[in-house]
Symmetry: C2
């Protein structure tokens, strides 16, 4: 089955967006360097980062098969107009599939009403054994981590403090502490520090 990773760009105080869903300077590092690359061949404008950031992202995400997101991100992006931001298929965890989304019949998007575990299972089947399943951080990723479904956590930590916002581990809830391994990689870019953790 595809390896399940949870990742996002995050402020130093742990937020993937501000309360109003803006991201402040979180994505500045996608445009402050000379090394060009794309998350997906469908991406028009390339990212331009430091070489260190490019190598980190490309080695951690060599081949994304499917993406699992929550309803909030779907609504915020309008499902990226029906084009997956990476991988070939997007699984959206939602209680109620959107009525009348104009790309419903044509886009490689599946709305999963059975919860995050069901969505990850479908994503793994689609990704197959050799490709990655990328689970968005936040409510969905936190729930998946608490359920033991995440194998690796990727944080792109930006040196900014928001004070409040939407937590990277938002869905982890309460309970016993979740133990991770020491970070297996730490890479410094410009306005971003990349951290890679295996879940113990």
């Amino acid at each position: 089955m595809g390896r399940v990773k949870m990742g996002a760009v995050v402020s130093l105080d742990g937020f993937i967006a501000r309360d109003d869903d803006t991201v402040g300077p979180l994505f500045d590092w996608f445009g402050n360097g000379d090394a060009e690359w794309r998350w997906s061949p469908r991406q028009d404008e390339p990212c331009r980062t430091t070489l260190a950031s490019k190598y980190f992202v490309q080695s951690v995400y060599p081949n994304i098969g499917a993406v699992v997101i929550g309803r909030r991100l779907f609504d915020l992006t309008d499902g990226w107009g029906g084009v997956p931001p990476a991988g070939e298929h997007v699984f959206v965890v939602t209680h109620t599939p959107p009525a009348g989304w104009k790309h419903t019949d044509t886009a490689p998007f599946t709305f999963v009403t059975g919860g995050v575990a069901a969505a990850i299972e479908q994503a793994q089947e689609l990704a197959g054994p050799d490709r990655i399943v990328d689970v968005a951080a936040g409510q969905i990723g936190g729930q998946a981590l608490r359920l033991g479904l995440i194998e690796q956590i990727v944080l792109h930590v930006v040196p900014v403090v928001f004070g409040s916002g939407r937590p990277f581990f938002g869905g982890a809830g309460t309970g016993d502490p979740i133990t991770l391994g020491n970070p297996s990689r730490i890479v410094q870019g410009d306005r971003v520090t990349h951290l890679l953790y295996d879940v113990a």
Copy 2:
């Protein structure tokens, strides 16, 4: 004036303690290595960490003059029995000084009712130009950061996820994002990653 640093041991999701004020495995790295050192000459049992962690802490905190904490930490520790955990004086930010603390007349502790800025000012006067003022993270540290009073932020990040608890930047409140520099140092210990940021 003494350099003002804000620091703490923190979970990967940004908490310096759990909701019940326990710290889970946050302090494990103080005892999992061979390199002995002490925060203060008054500390009975030394820390035993990796050499990397020892060097990091000793170089970032070469000489603490005074410590600024909030009332919660004071109450949780009963003011460490009147003995500062580091430095020679502790300034406690509180609305109401404790009645009947048995060390009030003898301990080098000052209860500051004028807020965090007043406490840091007094701490800097005591520390003088060559020593550090160490401000506890959490409510007090976050407030001081928002007020522009923190020069350097030190995070000892432990690879554990709590899900909820007491935030490292708890007092930062809402408002504009607070921009930091790229981390000037990143040091990996065992069960801890040390990050040092200068405030921009």
